[in-house]
């Protein structure tokens, strides 16, 4: 049983890792630390392996911008040089034009509001459920031990397969999309909250107990702050899965509205410029949502920087 517990913990910690590299990898040269103090030139040369004067920020920026432009050019070139059928891959200008058409026809905003409502409800409900269940599992060891094999089984089930069942039960309206989003998105937050709450070390815990702290105090002053970084990562995964859930349900449902439905319809009619316009639009929204959460993450968990190591 503790084996299953261990596996769940391991997976949750690994999903948390995408958090660390951004800081580790994008660290500026000359700011690497050893034993708590900044490295001197020789140490950095020895340990980091790069010359003390590493790539400048402007050079890095130039490379990433250059690559973006290069990819855009490639995208333009492929259909225009006749390498790919322009019907299947419209060039960026066609897509921009398609986006303009959609805006002019007043289609986009209506479907956007439908999809965003589904995602917002799904995430609000799924997130609350995930956090509450995670809190129960994280703070009551008995419940956690008893349920961990069931959680492991549920974790392995690809939850999208529940979508047809949910649509069958709730019909073609907004309810089925919200329910699908909830079913898919509550899980990562539950796991990350659960694991995070068990990460508090033995010594501070014993200290708080011996000072007569109540369970609530231990929870708010020790467990929750320790768990916060992992919980924020769970939030981010949940938002993205709420997107997936709502879109899967939209695409599966026969006749209805929403951006996912729009993409499916344009694809069936081979209106690829319009389909791509919606895809790019949706991608931009998802990226913005994650950036927003990253920003909140940095604001809420302001102490995280102290923990980030450099290598």
């Amino acid at each position: 049983m503790s084996g299953a517990d261990g596996i769940i913990r391991e997976v949750a910690t690994v999903t948390a890792w995408p958090e660390t590299p951004l800081q580790a990898v994008t660290q500026d040269p000359g700011t690497a630390k050893v034993a708590g103090r900044p490295m001197d030139e020789l140490e950095e040369k020895l340990l980091v392996g790069a010359p003390a004067r590493g790539p400048r920020r402007s050079k890095v920026l130039a490379i990433s911008l250059g690559t973006c432009l290069g990819l855009l050019f490639l995208w333009w070139l492929l259909p225009n040089a006749g390498l790919v059928n322009p019907l299947l891959l419209p060039d960026p200008f066609d897509v921009a034009e398609g986006f303009g058409k959609l805006l002019a026809a007043d289609v986009l905003l209506h479907h956007l509001s439908v999809t965003m409502t589904e995602i917002a409800y799904g995430f609000a409900i799924g997130g609350t459920i995930g956090f509450l269940l995670g809190t129960i599992l994280g703070t009551i060891p008995f419940v956690r031990r008893v349920l961990s094999p069931y959680i492991l089984a549920l974790q392995s089930l690809p939850k999208v397969v529940l979508a047809p069942l949910i649509i069958g039960a709730l019909g073609f309206g907004i309810e089925s999309k919200v329910a699908t989003a909830v079913a898919i998105c509550f899980f990562p937050l539950m796991i990350n909250t659960m694991v995070g709450l068990t990460l508090a070390a033995a010594e501070p815990m014993k200290l708080m107990r011996s000072l007569g702290a109540s369970r609530l105090q231990i929870y708010t002053k020790l467990r929750l702050p320790v768990a916060a970084p992992l919980i924020m990562v769970g939030f981010k995964h949940s938002v993205l899965l709420a997107f997936t859930g709502a879109l899967v349900a939209e695409i599966l449902v026969g006749s209805s509205e929403g951006l996912g439905r729009l993409i499916a319809i344009y694809n069936q009619q081979i209106l690829m410029d319009l389909a791509f316009a919606v895809v790019v639009f949706l991608a931009a929204i998802a990226v913005t949502a994650v950036m927003l959460l990253d920003y909140l993450d940095r604001k809420i968990i302001f102490w995280r920087e102290d923990k980030a190591g450099v290598k």
Partner: protein
């Protein structure tokens, strides 16, 4: 998070210690109490399954839920047998398994190669990481209809969709894993004038393996989801396709059976990776 930080971190409590500590339970156990404490969780765990089945039977008995949503328990068990023995089931199963397997292989290889490649060039790594992190936020499902329009209803579209879904976890964990080396080992290798390729081969890849396996475990789930979603969007075969057909026929017990089979596939693929990890990363203590 560095390796040194990890070993410095104070150990967290085991469930038993935590339970006793929070409950303020300081007495030493009597013999009988110790036995109860030891076996009670196992007993309750085992008891939950029949309890759930009992609830199912009760809900059916009292007709609390419409039969289209919740079939009879015995019907669901029979449906499992019928679904598995039905004509063409092996074909659908093979199709879905190859979609998952090939998608996982393609996405995994590309993710590993790009992770190792990028980690060798710090400038490129710093330039591309934010871009790739941005791409990671795009839900892969928005591409599913496009991929199907391009590649058709057959196997190839599903493989590509699965590969797209499982590329990122492998790529990111590889990149992170390769940068999580013990400082002292790195120092030692540099002092002994190891070339950067030797450091990569003998140190970085080895210490990254546990992280990479963590990524692979996520990736196999993502590949499964990618394949199923892609089958939902448009397909001519596969278990996801079969699920939609049973849905169209309002055959809920068969849908329950298929969902159970998906669960089995999920657990088995996860256990397969666990097994491989134990064989390949043999020096690591099992959790």
């Amino acid at each position: 998070m560095t390796a040194t930080l990890d070993s410095d971190r104070a150990r967290s409590l085991t469930p038993e210690e935590e339970q006793r500590l929070v409950a303020g339970d300081t007495e030493k156990d009597s013999r009988g109490r110790a036995v109860v404490r030891r076996w009670l969780p196992t007993v309750v765990t085992v008891a939950i399954a029949p309890l759930l089945i009992g609830l199912w039977l009760l809900a059916r008995e009292l007709d609390l839920v419409h039969p289209i949503l919740l079939p009879e328990f015995t019907d669901a068990i029979n449906a499992l047998r019928e679904v598995v023995t039905a004509d063409g089931f092996t074909m659908h199963l093979n199709r879905t398994l190859s979609e998952i397997g090939l998608g996982f292989l393609l996405g995994g290889v590309v993710g590993l190669a790009l992770g190792i490649g990028l980690s060798s060039f710090p400038t490129l790594r710093r330039a591309y990481f934010p871009l790739l992190a941005g791409f990671e936020a795009i839900p892969g499902i928005v591409l599913a209809p496009v991929v199907i329009t391009w590649l058709g209803f057959g196997l190839s579209g599903k493989v590509v969709q699965g590969a797209i879904a499982c590329f990122f976890p492998v790529f990111v964990t590889t990149l992170v894993g390769l940068s999580m080396v013990s400082e002292n080992e790195l120092k030692l290798m540099r002092i002994m004038k190891a070339s950067s390729w030797t450091v990569m081969r003998e140190l970085r890849i080895r210490s990254a393996l546990p992280a990479i396996f963590g990524g692979l475990k996520i990736a196999i789930t993502m590949a499964t989801i990618g394949a199923i979603v892609s089958e939902f969007v448009g397909s001519d075969a596969g278990l996801g396709y079969l699920l939609l057909r049973y849905k169209a026929g309002y055959d809920t017990s068969a849908m329950f059976a298929l969902i159970f089979i998906f669960g089995v596939i999920g657990v088995l693929s996860f256990l397969l990776l666990e097994f491989l990890e134990r064989k390949i990363v043999f020096w690591r203590k099992p959790s």
